[in-house]
Symmetry: C2
Subunit: 618 residues, 2 copies
């Protein structure tokens, strides 16, 4: 099979560093072994701008990457040093884990993939008897883990280069953010991270079986994060594509990635993804459990589900979406909806509940699930199985009844020191978005909110990355900690490589807009640096500071292809003869020279409107 070749070719593309960029690593202080990656962009005027970097070793030319061996396990020693875990002979893989017996060709191919992935096998670890290995548990005992310091360094970034851009006092006052109840410190300390994790206001998804992880935090007092979904499906796509999509997704800025595979080869796909993932990986275990029972929801049992949780926890999944809030009494509330139950997990459990006329077994077994979570430090992402599937169903009783239940379950999870975030909608018109945030804060005790969009309208299939980026930016500003992306293919088909990129860029825009609005310290420094470059016609710097340098440069080339145009002191809008920015420079020179005018303007500042000279008539 030549799949690996195309695969290698694909992957090669995503290993190129960004233009004018180099990877640098910041050392820890409490934990000197830490090497926190950042991206440094060298500007043509000698400045260097440092950016948050989710891309992992892939964009580091000096890193030796082999996806069949997996990434270096830097976290292993941090975990070992805590001496509260043990290696053990994990659950034996079963053919059912990959969706049962396929045709002969498929089996052959699967063996082939497993062989290729032989180097990906790890001995699983779990908490020693009686131990609890969650970051929340350490935090509550006052321990600042390497993961916590790592997050603090990463969230601060390098403030040195920002100083010049944030110095102007008048501007700082005028642009001061509106945190909407968030309390973001001027500087993120390791102790602040610990305190936020201890009170459940932030999580650090970090399974002890995912040592390849570069830790990150999800919480309203940190940078707004985004998640990208990948995963093969019953209909199409292959393992190689999924791994390449992972690398592609983090290149453009995905902070976490969910593997929503639903077809065959689920287990093997997950091995490949986890061993090559520097970001937290989330899953929806009920999807695999359903495959194990041949897709018949009513045949699901606690034993099969429990076995699936252990299987995935041993592989290193960092957070599980658990739809424990889809309670029997809430299901009829969806009957009169315009679009009923659209969450896949939600509908699986609804079907199970009505088939057995019994309460959701995830709700009844919730504390047993907690026992598994704390043995591996898997975080909860409490699923919103009853989220609205259209604006018409937004904020209805089914949605909010489930949300209140998720709040109840959050306190139960916290009783076990299990890290928890709450999933949210979905489809919500603009004027109804704030109520979602308020209800979540009220009932879920500030556990991080993790929303899908929301989409603000329903008439834009093919452009729902845009209709949802609007809602995502607003709810991010209001306090949502992580935004799950939506691609242009939403409602229509499976996203390809380009769709994944389009969805991620739209969500980086939404998340950054939220950070700027909240007034996250330093958030707007990058905007100022790019605006300065734009004003000074440093075209290359403008491209290199943007979310997608390639596209920015390509668009400029379409109108003004000449290399000369990259340093030209005009742009295509006005042309060389006349340029507004050029004139502004003249205005600036003129104004600074004109004491008289400066005085006059001071006068205007003081006097306000009444000093306008009367208009000449006729």
């Amino acid at each position: 099979m030549n799949a690996p070749d195309t695969f290698t070719q694909l992957l090669a593309l995503t290993r190129e560093p960004f233009p004018a960029s180099r990877k640098l690593h910041v050392r820890g202080q409490l934990h000197p072994q830490l090497r926190v990656p950042m991206r440094e962009v060298a500007l043509s005027n000698g400045e260097a701008v440092t950016l948050y970097d989710t891309s992992g070793p892939y964009t580091d030319p000096t890193a030796d990457v082999d996806v069949r061996r997996g990434l270096a396990a830097e976290r292993s020693e941090w975990i070992a040093a805590r001496a509260d875990t043990e290696g053990y002979t994990g659950r034996q893989p079963q053919s059912i884990d990959d969706g049962g017996r396929g045709g002969e060709r498929e089996v052959a191919r699967l063996d082939d993939l497993r062989a290729h992935a032989a180097g990906l096998q790890r001995t699983p670890r779990r908490a020693r008897a009686g131990a609890n290995v969650t970051q929340m548990h350490y935090a509550r005992r006052g321990i600042v883990t390497p993961e916590m310091e790592y997050v603090a360094i990463r969230e601060n970034g390098r403030r040195e280069w920002m100083a010049e851009y944030l110095a102007d006092e008048e501007r700082a006052q005028r642009l001061r953010g509106n945190p909407m109840g968030a309390s973001i410190p001027e500087r993120i300390t390791p102790e602040f991270v610990r305190a936020e994790v201890a009170r459940g206001r932030a999580i650090i998804p970090a399974n002890i079986n995912h040592p390849e992880l570069e830790p990150m935090a999800i919480g309203r007092n940190f940078l707004v994060k985004i998640n990208a979904n990948i995963g093969n499906s019953a209909v199409t796509s292959s393992i190689e594509e999924e791994v390449e999509k992972l690398v592609w997704a983090i290149r453009w800025g995905a902070d976490t990635v969910m593997d929503l595979s639903t077809g065959r080869n689920i287990h093997t796909t997950r091995d490949w993804i986890l061993r090559n993932a520097p970001v937290p990986i989330g899953t929806v275990p009920i999807y695999q459990a359903l495959e194990k029972v041949g897709g018949v929801a009513e045949d699901l049992t606690w034993d099969i589900f429990r076995d699936t949780l252990v299987e995935q926890a041993e592989q290193g999944v960092d957070y599980f979406t658990i739809h424990a809030g889809v309670r029997l009494p809430f299901i009829p509330m969806t009957a009169r909806r315009r679009t009923g139950i659209v969450s896949r997990g939600g509908s699986i459990l609804a079907k199970w509940c009505i088939a057995h006329h019994r309460e959701n077994f995830l709700y009844e077994r919730f504390e047993e699930i907690c026992e598994i979570m704390k043995a591996y430090d898997v975080s909860f992402s409490l699923g919103d199985g009853l989220r609205p599937g259209s604006g018409a169903d937004a904020n209805d009783e089914a949605q909010f009844a489930e949300l209140r239940t998720l709040g109840e379950l959050t306190q139960l999870a916290w009783k076990h020191d299990v890290q928890t975030m709450i999933e949210g909608p979905g489809h919500v018109p603009m004027h109804m978005i704030q109520a979602n945030m308020e209800e979540q804060l009220k009932h879920c005790h500030e556990a991080p909110f993790y929303t899908l969009g929301p989409l603000t309208i329903d008439i834009a299939p093919g452009y729902d990355h845009i209709s949802s980026a609007i809602g995502a930016a607003m709810i991010g500003w209001f306090g949502t900690a992580m935004l799950c992306y939506v691609t242009p293919k939403e409602h229509l088909g499976l996203p390809d490589r380009e769709d994944v990129k389009q969805g991620i860029v739209a969500y980086k825009i939404a998340a950054h807009a939220a950070d700027v609005a909240k007034g996250h310290p330093g958030a707007r420094a990058r905007d100022e640096a790019l605006s300065k470059a734009r004003f000074e016609f440093r075209w290359q710097d403008q491209f290199n500071l943007s979310l997608d340098p390639e596209t920015a440069k390509e668009f400029h080339d379409e109108t003004l292809p000449a290399d000369g145009a990259k340093v030209a002191h005009f742009c295509s809008m006005c042309g060389p003869k006349f340029c507004s920015m050029k004139i502004t420079q003249e205005v600036r020179d003129y104004a600074s020279a004109q004491e008289g005018m400066a005085a006059k303007s001071a006068e205007v500042r003081a006097g306000g409107s009444e000093i306008y000279i009367p208009l000449k008539k006729g």
Copy 2:
């Protein structure tokens, strides 16, 4: 030259009706001669949905269109019937009108274009001596013009089909909009339109020399409108392209189009555009005036500017951007900005002011400009020449000093019954957007606000249609009447055909999201119809009800090409074996059958959270 051939080919593309759609015309009652165009979409379940239609005769297969002759002048008789205008020998075209002498080849080509456009020449009309022909003047005298009734019919659309979708009382209550101070009646009457125009809260841009116009209104109590900019530039593009871009822009939903041409052939390009435009056309006359003085701003004079206003008014331009608020004392306020003055018109006038150290002549001659406007019913779009060019400069003293001046000028324009709207930013972080709307309402007396975006961040060149659609949706909800689109090429180059479409679709999303949030009656009916089609797996109906049916269908085909998939009761996300929407249907059947469950859910509704059964432990 074979340009016309390619041109005809291009144009042919844009004449195809939308799938399953036909053009229908609703008759007037006060004015039975009115034929208000709408688009009817036939659904596969026998329903028919009627949509607002900006595309003009181009999407009507029965219409005989020849761009070299121009569209039918249906408004001519309405104007003639008012008997307050006169035809006259207009200003003679001068070579300078098209940007002075070009090379020989260019002159030859221009003559050719003029020859082709011979059928486009009209005898200009103006108000009889002492008359005022503005819609505002009629409105204030209690006259309901055909234009006003046309607007009322158009804004209401056909409510019949909406009834079923808006019937549910619980849903209507839950989704009730937040008008943010707007007062939109359940039904738009011609009298309501008159009253809104009379008090200046809405405008109907409708030059008496633009009889091809299909009238529309811009005001906070009407549907939110969007504008698309076209226009050749010093750097590139041709007349044919511009006309085709116009037809292309209104096909996708542009409510008005601004011709921002700055290169040569400005006059001739405008002839072509206006005679073929069913939507209002706006311009920035100072651009052409600058061309007439060879691009040297300080050489501009009132006479040259005045002559340009008359030239364009005679051609039929419906609204002029006039930067009369760029006052001498405000200019130094921009000196310390991150990006100075980025408005082209603003910087031209700033340059003129500082070169002569004199007050802006547009400000001093404002009432003379009003005299011209009211003789043709050209509306003011008071330009924000000092708008911020980056988030760093948002809401600063220069911007707001100019805004207060625009409010002052609005009252002066209203003294002459000249219709007026106010231009707004630009670049504004999310948390600073509402202040823009509040200041505008406060100082500009509810004159319609017309904003560019605003862009919420500065780091997304190549994607600024998205970074600005976020701000546009929010400010549209807050009360902005028209949103000027931003294309993906903003800051980088000139938009091509595809960029224009991308910008328009992004802004249709923003405008519709605003209408839904404001609670415009019937706005959400289309969302409900599409959601219902989606839930019932009526794929073709879902495509045909969307903003861009072609793209929606194309994206679906990429994953499930088979025609069978268009009627399949599953989608590519879950595949045939398991489908959440299918299960929802089972839930619905089950729930409706279960009296007991219904009762239980009623109990939950009543009891709220305290009735949750205690969790089983262990």
